[in-house]
């Protein structure tokens, strides 16, 4: 994974010092709430329902065991002993008092971490494929490009106050595991016929109130030009994106409104930078800089391109076999596997980890994965460098540490935001809904019988729980001060299994809080009754449409029966 240079290290310390100065002025009454707000947001500090929430960047999901241990220490020392991994591969704490904020930023800087641009109307933490660098279907390893983009976007002086937040996702595999169509900019690395590397560039995807899939603006952009091209996109957006209405301020609205004119404006701006600006070509990436960054992503010491001797596990316990099938993934190196540590288990909200669990995961990474972990878009942890011969031992250790639920890709491996229990923006709670569904589907046979399915839960239209892209999406809404839930079907994140990215469709009026789990159960029941042999949930929905699901879902209504 990326190794901080002395410059990088000093940079995050300088950022921590700057934040301390701002926080001290705020606490001394010299920087009012309103003005401190945008500054703290760009360091990851929200003010939430109970306390400030701190979002810490895990750039493109790569996390070192020593960093995870430091997060565990922060959880114990400053928080109430746990954290929450998000769909954007970040980690959030919920209970840190703001007046200790500067100390936490120092503690993070000590392990090369920070909260830079994890919130605010700026270019956010860049996300990528959790299997970057290890996936068998990978064409180009996206991590060095992600790092180049991270550095370029970090404290970019022109783009700190955009009309709205700006999210970039990068993938380099055949399969899109980074949901790039749903991002402000989606980048798909590929090789052309000459073997040269470039990006397919999508712009203007996004969730929220108006779900939109990104538009392809370039089929193949040579990789050397990516910083300049993104500068052109973001400058056009900064100048012409709407600022009069927060709900129309994302770049997707500009792209939709302007269509080809937007694409032309970006092309013209790109040409202006290169041809007209003082030293305009300075951000073309030289091969030497790529090599310098790429050197960080060499195989860990002791891992060779030849891999390890094949060593099929001899353990025959059925539980192990299940885990092998769901939580263990193919690797590009022979003799190696990637292993998901499931953070989806009864009794804990999806993505939550206690300080002890952070330590346990760090220890598993040290013992079995060269001290490296990944945070996945689905809110799990993943060990990228596991030897086949260690799988049985890892399984036992992961089970002891609560990480071995063999449910990856299944119904209970759901995505959920923290919702109204924590989030100041939420209209409804997500965690109780997730918990109720998790409790109903503890029977592994039943879960396996239901098969691959994406259940995504958001507590409000900001869509942090990606309800639009769920095969089943649940959206919390507020009506008359009460919590209600819209259920949608047929959404896709753009993966091979789910098909081309598309938002799901709502199946009817909102359900009451005590009806929503029944409604989901009714939807699952309908699928089981209607499916063809070996047909997955999403395929059944596509084949038969929404109608057959509506009746059974409506039958789950009690208080809302009159509305349906």
């Amino acid at each position: 994974m990326y190794q901080y240079t002395a410059f990088d290290r000093q940079f995050v310390h300088q950022r921590a010092a700057q934040f301390r100065d701002q926080l001290e002025r705020h606490l001394a009454g010299r920087l009012p709430d309103d003005e401190f707000r945008a500054l703290r947001l760009q360091n990851g500090w929200y003010v939430q329902r109970h306390a400030p929430m701190l979002r810490i960047a895990v750039p493109y999901g790569e996390l070192a065991a020593r960093q995870l241990r430091a997060l565990g220490r922060i959880a114990r020392e400053y928080d109430r002993g746990y954290g929450h991994f998000t769909t954007r591969q970040n980690l959030q704490f919920n209970w840190i008092p703001l007046n200790r904020g500067a100390d936490v930023m120092d503690a993070l800087a000590a392990v090369d971490m920070h909260g830079i641009q994890t919130s605010g109307n700026c270019i956010r933490n860049i996300t990528s494929d959790a299997l970057a660098g290890i996936a068998p279907d990978e064409v180009v390893d996206p991590r060095p490009y992600c790092e180049l983009l991270r550095q370029w976007s970090t404290l970019h002086p022109e783009f700190a106050f955009l009309p709205r937040k700006f999210k970039i996702a990068v993938t380099g595999a055949r399969e899109d595991r980074a949901a790039i169509g749903w991002h402000d900019i989606g980048l798909h690395l590929k090789k052309n016929e000459a073997g040269e590397i470039g990006f397919k560039v999508l712009v203007g995807g996004g969730m929220g109130r108006t779900p939109v899939i990104g538009t392809v603006v370039r089929e193949f952009l040579p990789w050397q030009q990516i910083l300049v091209f993104i500068e052109a996109i973001v400058r056009v957006y900064n100048r012409y994106g709407r600022r009069d209405n927060m709900y129309k301020a994302r770049i997707k609205i500009l792209v939709k409104a302007e269509g080809q004119k937007f694409v032309d404006a970006v092309a013209a701006e790109f040409a202006h930078i290169l041809n007209d600006d003082v030293d305009g070509a300075a951000h073309l990436i030289p091969q030497a800089e790529f090599e310098r960054v790429n050197a960080s992503f060499a195989l860990p010491e002791g891992v060779g391109e030849a891999g390890a001797p094949a060593s099929a596990p001899t353990e025959t316990a059925p539980a192990f076999r299940r885990w092998l099938e769901r939580n263990v993934h193919a690797h590009r190196l022979p003799g190696y596997r990637a292993v998901t540590l499931s953070l989806k288990r009864a009794g804990q909200p999806p993505g939550d980890v206690s300080a002890d669990q952070m330590d346990a995961a760090a220890e598993l990474a040290e013992r079995y994965s060269h001290g490296e972990l990944r945070v996945t878009h689905d809110q799990n942890l993943l060990l990228p460098w596991v030897r086949e011969s260690d799988l049985a031992a890892l399984w036992k250790a992961a089970r002891a540490a609560t990480f071995a639920t063999p449910n990856i890709g299944l119904l209970t491996d759901m995505i959920a935001c923290p919702g109204g229990d924590f989030c100041g923006l939420a209209n409804a709670r997500s965690i109780p809904v997730a918990a109720e569904i998790t409790e109903r589907y503890t029977d592994l046979d039943e879960l396996w019988d239901i098969g691959d399915i994406d259940l995504h839960i958001s507590g409000c239209i900001n869509s942090c729980g990606h309800h639009h892209s769920g095969h089943i999406g649940i959206l919390g809404v507020d009506k008359d001060g009460k919590e209600w839930y819209q259920v949608s079907l047929g959404g896709s994140d753009g993966s091979t299994l789910s098909g081309a990215s598309v938002p799901g469709k709502v199946i009817g009026p909102s359900f009451a809080a005590d009806e929503v789990a029944d409604a989901v159960e009714a939807v699952i029941g309908t699928y089981k009754a209607q499916r063809a042999a070996n047909e997955r949930f999403i395929d059944t929905v596509r084949r038969i449409g929404l109608e057959p699901f509506k009746g059974p879902a409506n039958a789950a209504r009690r208080s809302t029966a009159h509305a349906a």
């Binding site: 300088q14 003082v278 300075a282």
Partner: protein, 180 residues
């Protein structure tokens, strides 16, 4: 960075009634908005300094040809979180080589200073309640940055070999100094 002291600043807006003026006397150091400039342009003597006040939704491109005639361009931050003027300043300097003063006006807060300095502003008119000391301190937190800016568009990776290492060492030195 120049901190504008309004009591000593020679620049002034056109007095009198609102609306497009019938005639504009070429007073030195008049700060005109775009419509006023268009009205005065033809008769304005080349040796009388004039400034342009550009709203943040007006395009720099539209005044590009006239830029050599302005001694100052004043850009606006109607709200400090509206970042359009950063792009305007950057274009004025990098694309149109504007060499006069680029001044930040409106809701200008001390924490904007690093961004202003890096996008091409060389003068700020701080909001009245802002502290000049805090503004100067705000300029000093970072020894270097990754991406290029208007002062030097070369990013860290295009700087002479050893620059990143030197900057990291300098900061070490500053830290040591602070702890003595």
């Amino acid at each position: 960075m120049k901190f504008v002291d309004l009591h000593r600043d020679p620049w002034h807006a056109l007095g009198g009634e609102d609306g497009p003026p019938v005639s504009i006397n070429p007073d030195p150091y008049l700060l005109l908005d775009l419509s006023q400039w268009h009205a005065a342009r033809a008769a304005w003597p080349l040796d009388v300094p004039v400034g342009l006040k550009l709203a943040n939704d007006q395009d720099v491109e539209d005044v590009a040809a006239d830029l050599p005639r302005f001694a100052l361009v004043a850009l606006q931050f109607p709200k400090w979180t509206d970042g359009r003027a950063y792009s305007q300043a950057r274009l004025l300097r990098s694309r149109w080589r504007f060499a006069g003063e680029v001044r930040a006006t409106g809701e200008v807060l001390v924490d904007m200073l690093p961004l202003l300095a890096r996008t091409g502003f060389d003068a700020v008119q701080l909001r009245a309640d802002q502290s000049r000391d805090a503004a100067e301190r705000a300029l000093g937190f970072f020894r270097g940055h990754y991406q290029g800016d208007v002062r030097d568009n070369r990013p860290l990776f295009a700087q002479p070999a050893g620059t990143a290492e030197r900057l990291a060492r300098e900061q070490d030195f500053v830290h040591h100094g602070a702890s003595i």
